[in-house]
Amino acid sequence: MDKTARLDEIVAAHAGRDGPLLPILHDIQAEFGCVDEEAKRHLAGALNLSRAEVHGVVSFYHDFKSEPAKLPVLKLCRAEACQARGCEALAADISAAANGKCEIETVYCLGLCTVGPNAMIGTDVHARLDIPKLTKLIEAL
């Protein structure tokens, strides 16, 4: 199926919802790994919004990317509770551990504040991390 038809399907799946833009964008991000220009243009037409309005929403939220990630993404929490448990030391060493096998993103709080440092890969969460554990996680990707 071509992309335009799939975009139409996603929009149709949310028909009847009030204020459907965010759920639609989530579905697009999940399916294509990003919300690109083509998707924005198409959405604007389908939802009777201006392209600027759609772009404004997409660019406001950290979750929506303009291009798909080339590698698996590991989100490392660097909020205060994890800082108190040493995530900054991890953050300094993580790029060596990543070794070009994954992209490292920063996230502020996964709600696991008692067992940090924490990270999320996809929807899987991992706690009590140190460099050996992180390296193992990354190798398993």
């Binding site: 404004g56 205060e80 696991l112 067992v115």
Partner: protein, 516 residues
């Protein structure tokens, strides 16, 4: 009789390896009944395995054999009798660790739906009277009386009204919303249905953050399973997209409408013109989850807990560098020192406590000399702090408060919605000033400040003390000039860090003396 083995399926337990454990146990003890329950909230013991009520934790796959034959040294005795549990007053989290989150029979058997039944009997006015009488205040941080908010919504005339549950729990050091949504989703659904009856709304939204995929899955399953019970009230989960500011209620409403999460100016209050311009009650997860108990047991039963104008219980989240971190629900009035030292057991690193941040990224840093403060909205306000969502993050002496202050500004800059100037620009200027303080002030004059039209700017460099007074001015502007709490409360962590630890900022001896 076969053994009953309980393991939590809370995201935190999963992150600590609960699934692998459950698998290993199923293999090692095929005759045992393995159930996946909510978490007790004793996070240092996760993954916790409960064999016929006796707890073992934190367990690894290698411990399974010893746990099953009862010889494991991880034995903590009867979980329900653990001092961490016995010391609490669990009203909202009464089912934590006990029930299977999505099991309707478990919910029913533990007083589930009693509050809703009572609410249906009472009718709107009496529900609001009960909630007002209980003294319940908004648990999201602002502490506004829930009954009064509901009364405003109930009194508004409109074709459609909404209940919106704020589950955008972005504060670091807080996880009570997540635990409730994952561990007892029917309790939240029941609370929302009661709120709907009270204000005359038949539609509810739960706005949950995308960082909580497990909670979202549980909520969706629970909403489907209980739709026939709460009907005609209908609930929909909407997922945020990584914007911290959407935890602010008007920004949340914009986001729900499918817009940029920019803060709205108030008035109009959401209670009058909220979601899609309709009267809307926006309440935090914990506020709504406290309601079933209040309806089932009466206003007085709830109001009997607490102190002053802070009535009932608060699920406090003990986090950061603590030996015994977790969820501790207790009546208002417990002191900060009791929580950190007695219940939390001091720091995990064994080093002395330096600072305790209460109330998330926008809460103040408190030194040990504030440990006498009781958990009470007014007491914390009087001490230039806030309770916020009840999260406590403990730092040991290795923390550098200048870095923490810098992080507060950095966080505000990253998460600002951009609508108002004090927050959008103030946070960036704040980072710059703190960078200069880190560098020991500025020796030479700034080229822009040297321009002839910059009448009030100094024509020479600035000392650290001068930079500190500059950031105090900036914080004052942000505090009173910002539209919402993001810009308005960022000064709390910054100013408290400067006030209590001026030496970390390289302030002169005179200034250190003045501040103390």
């Amino acid at each position: 009789m076969s053994r009953r083995i309980a393991i939590s399926d809370d995201a935190l337990a999963l992150a600590c390896g609960a699934d692998a454990l459950a698998e290993a146990i199923a293999k090692a003890a095929p005759d045992a009944e393995i159930i996946r329950v909510s978490s007790w909230g004793m996070h240092w013991l996760e993954p916790l395995i409960e064999v016929d009520g006796i707890g073992y934790g934190p367990a690894t796959v290698d411990d399974v054999a010893a746990i099953l034959d009862g010889s494991s040294s991880l034995n903590i005795g009867k979980v329900a009798d653990h001092s961490f549990i016995v010391r609490q007053q669990r009203l909202t989290f009464a089912r934590a660790g006990i029930t299977q989150p999505l099991d309707l029979e478990d919910y029913q058997a533990t007083d589930g739906w009693l509050g809703l039944a009572k609410a249906r009997e009472l009718g709107a006015d009496a529900i609001i009277e009960t909630v007002t009488g209980s003294g319940l205040r908004g648990r999201g941080g602002a502490g506004f009386p829930a009954g009064i908010k509901w009364k405003t919504v109930a009194g508004a005339q409109a074709s459609q009204k909404y209940i919106v549950c704020n589950a955008d729990e972005g504060d670091s050091g807080t996880f009570a919303d997540r635990m409730l949504m994952e561990g007892d989703p029917y309790c939240l659904i029941e609370g929302m249905a009661i709120a709907g009856l009270a204000v005359g709304a038949d539609k509810g939204y739960i706005y949950a953050r995308s960082e909580y995929p497990h909670a979202i899955a549980k909520l969706n399953a629970a909403i489907r399973a209980s739709a026939h019970i709460v009907a005609p009230f209908a609930i929909e989960v909407r997922v945020g997209a990584g914007a911290y500011v959407c935890g602010e209620e008007t920004s949340l409403l914009e986001s729900l409408e499918g817009k940029r999460g920019e803060v709205r100016a108030k008035p109009p209050l959401p209670a009058r013109e909220g979601l899609f311009g309709k009267p809307t009650a926006v309440n935090n997860v914990l506020t709504l989850a406290a309601v079933p108990y209040i309806l089932a047991h009466g206003a007085k039963a709830y109001a009997d807990y607490g102190m002053g104008r802070s009535r009932g219980t608060l699920p406090i989240q003990l986090a950061g560098n603590l030996k015994y971190g977790g969820l501790f629900e207790t009546a208002f009035g417990i002191t900060l020192g009791e929580l950190v030292n007695e219940i939390g057991g001091g720091t995990q690193s064994g080093k002395p406590v330096k600072a305790v941040q209460v109330g998330g990224p926008l809460g103040a840093y408190h030194p040990a000399s504030d440990f006498h403060l009781p958990f009470d909205y007014e007491a914390f306000t009087a001490a230039d702090g806030l309770i916020g969502h009840g999260g406590i993050v403990v730092f040991d002496e290795s923390a550098d408060m200048l870095s923490q202050a810098h992080f507060a500004m950095e966080f505000c800059a990253a998460e600002s919605c951009g609508k108002c100037t004090p927050c959008r620009l103030g946070s960036v200027r704040g980072m710059e000033v703190l960078d200069r303080i880190k560098a020991g002030g500025r020796a030479a004059a700034d080229p822009v400040e040297s321009l002839p039209q910059m009448h009030n700017a100094p024509k020479q460099g600035r000392s650290v003390d001068e930079e500190l007074s500059l950031i105090s001015d900036l914080c004052e502007t942000m505090k009173f000039g910002s539209l919402c709490a993001l810009g308005g409360f960022t000064p709390y962590p910054v100013m408290s860090a400067i006030k209590h630890w001026p030496e970390d900022f390289g302030a002169s001896a005179d200034m250190v003396k003045d501040k103390s």
